[in-house]
Symmetry: none
Subunit: 212 residues, 4 copies
């Protein structure tokens, strides 16, 4: 899968001042990604983030109003980069199975890639908190998956159980198997993807057709 497509490429405004603004905004986002990855959301401080950018403390607040907002922006950023892929896959219209297979592959690739920048050094001894996507755009990923499932239902290419539950289950499998995958060396995206895809597709097929 083309990794380039996963990279956010904001439109570059022409004015020099604007370039700096965009660059700073991106620098803060990148620093936040790294810092959240290293320290976790809780332990991370705005100072940690801003220190990494070389900017001054106050400058942070020219771009984001709070730690919370930069976190949301980060989640947005991830989702914004991943959602088009999902949409593209659906648009290809090769059917539901193909969609799941490709989506899982894309996600696990995305995960393994992010992982190299992110989950480096996690302070042991603290309860590990899994950042779950209850941010606006993460919810959008969820919605996208749910819509794909609903559509499949409508087209009779898929089962007819509760789409919310189905989406939740699919995402859950992808996420947690993905996590397990990242714990192993070497990271075997193909094997994990095969497992998750099979589990999802077969699991969905077996669902009762009437749940509404």
């Amino acid at each position: 899968m083309p990794q380039a497509a996963l990279t956010a490429v904001p439109d570059l405004p022409s004015g020099k001042r604007e370039q700096t603004k965009v660059a700073n905004r991106q620098a803060i986002l990148d620093a936040a990604r790294a810092v959240f990855g290293e320290l976790g959301y809780e332990a991370a401080t705005v100072r940690d983030i801003i220190r990494r950018t070389g900017l001054a403390a106050g400058t942070f607040y020219n771009y984001y109003r709070s730690k919370e907002e930069v976190f949301a922006a980060l989640a947005d950023d991830g989702a914004r980069r991943f959602n088009p892929i999902l949409k593209g896959l659906r648009a290809q219209g090769h059917g539901f199975e193909s969609f799941v297979r490709l989506a899982i592959g894309a996600y696990f690739g995305f995960l393994a890639d992010e992982h190299r920048n992110w989950v480096a050094r996690r302070p042991a001894g603290e309860p590990h908190l899994h950042v779950q996507g209850e941010t606006p755009e993460m919810a959008a990923v969820f919605a996208e998956v749910r819509d794909a499932l609903a559509e499949a239902v409508a087209e009779r290419t898929g089962p007819m159980a509760d789409p919310d539950y189905m989406a939740a289950a699919c995402i859950a499998i992808a996420r947690d198997v993905g996590d397990k995958m990242l714990e192993r060396r070497p990271i075997d995206t193909a094997g994990a993807a095969a497992f998750a895809t099979s589990m999802i597709l077969t699991g969905l097929k077996g669902l009762p057709k009437a749940q509404a």
Copy 2:
């Protein structure tokens, strides 16, 4: 299922002082459960917890050394109450399917029960972090499920794919479908359990037989 069996019943020492100690320890645990539920682990403070008990600030530290420790105790508490149930179900030996069905039922019942104390008022606008059980006893739940799956594999009553992935997937489904279940009114444990059970059992059956 008898909900009473899920309730921790510590032996009550006879002395009045000892009674108070046990009561206080439990009160802190209960308050912590409520506060973590309302604010999330990270936003919760030791003061929030102790304030809810009516005890003095310093008293917290007579029982737990830190927020982290009370969190671990809480996870232990939950897992300690749930793990015997899992073990009991396995011991009944009615086969893997039966085990999964009953376990899911037990878990969702447990969840709906806990929920009444827990997930009340969540301040919107903060990123919600899902507290994932990487605490010792939560890991024990995971291990128990994995062992059940491994055993099933050995007995050829189950599939032969990677037990870690299988356990992860089963737990993921149970957890996230459980979460969705809690978001709806009325809370329909039976429906959610049916969905999750089917998804898990069918999903597992479809897994490739060669992974060992």
Copy 3:
């Protein structure tokens, strides 16, 4: 010098209850001596002291009203054990020089002795606070020395300068040379005593005769 004479031997009351009381009081005092020696007055806590006695926290307050009071009692104890020696030396009436010589010898011996129990492990990195005798009984030691000097003045066996200054200077020399002595290995009480005695006696002799 007879070390036994330096040991406080409180009169033992006959009743058993009283014996326990006296024993506890002494135990607390001993523990306090050790703890102040190890941690310094500031860092030492009442809990540190009471823990070392095996008694309960509340029991401390049956004997002393505060950390401060036990400190004062400790200083009293030291001074009470040392003061009779000073008095005895004066009473022997062998003259001022002899008094100084013997007193310094007694003090340095006392110091070297105490040192073995006391000044063990001092947490480096903290400013070292020299506990100076502004406690009632430490002031009594000062007074005793000053009186000895004043008497010597009256008897024309000594100089006639300001007795307060003279006492301050004598005590200062004894204390600080004593401290330096304790920093060396092996601890050479004889050498240090010879130095301090000479410095004091010669120094006093050179003082102007008229200061009042």
Copy 4:
């Protein structure tokens, strides 16, 4: 002696911010001097210090990392202002006696001057702990005195006893006689200096010549 020379005059940076920084740093130092003087090192809290400056609590930590550090800075400050004087006196090369005489005079003047800011109101009933200069720069004062004595020994203008003991004794006399001096009204620096100088010079002369 020109008291002005004892006053620290840091270079004033031109920017307004820098001026404020320097002023704040000095204000904290001054407040710390006063608070340590009033309450003693151990009883003093960072809050006491910062409250006196009118600055916010957190601001303290922009300048010093702890109470300990501000204490060290204070000791440094005092020693840094006094050490050049000692060095200057030695450089004048008027011999050992002259050095002692002038040094004592300088010290007692310094003391009386500092005293006006320092030792105001001491809450009675607490054990008074004399802050002894085991900070780096206070050790430098000690070293300076010891070197002066050692040099005097080398030049045969002084006695040949143990220089460490000699330095300890000289400093002890100066310090404690100085303390006594401050307790009297009016403060008689000349009288105290005469006493201490005599005591030191005569005392040293009488020391045994063979100790090296």
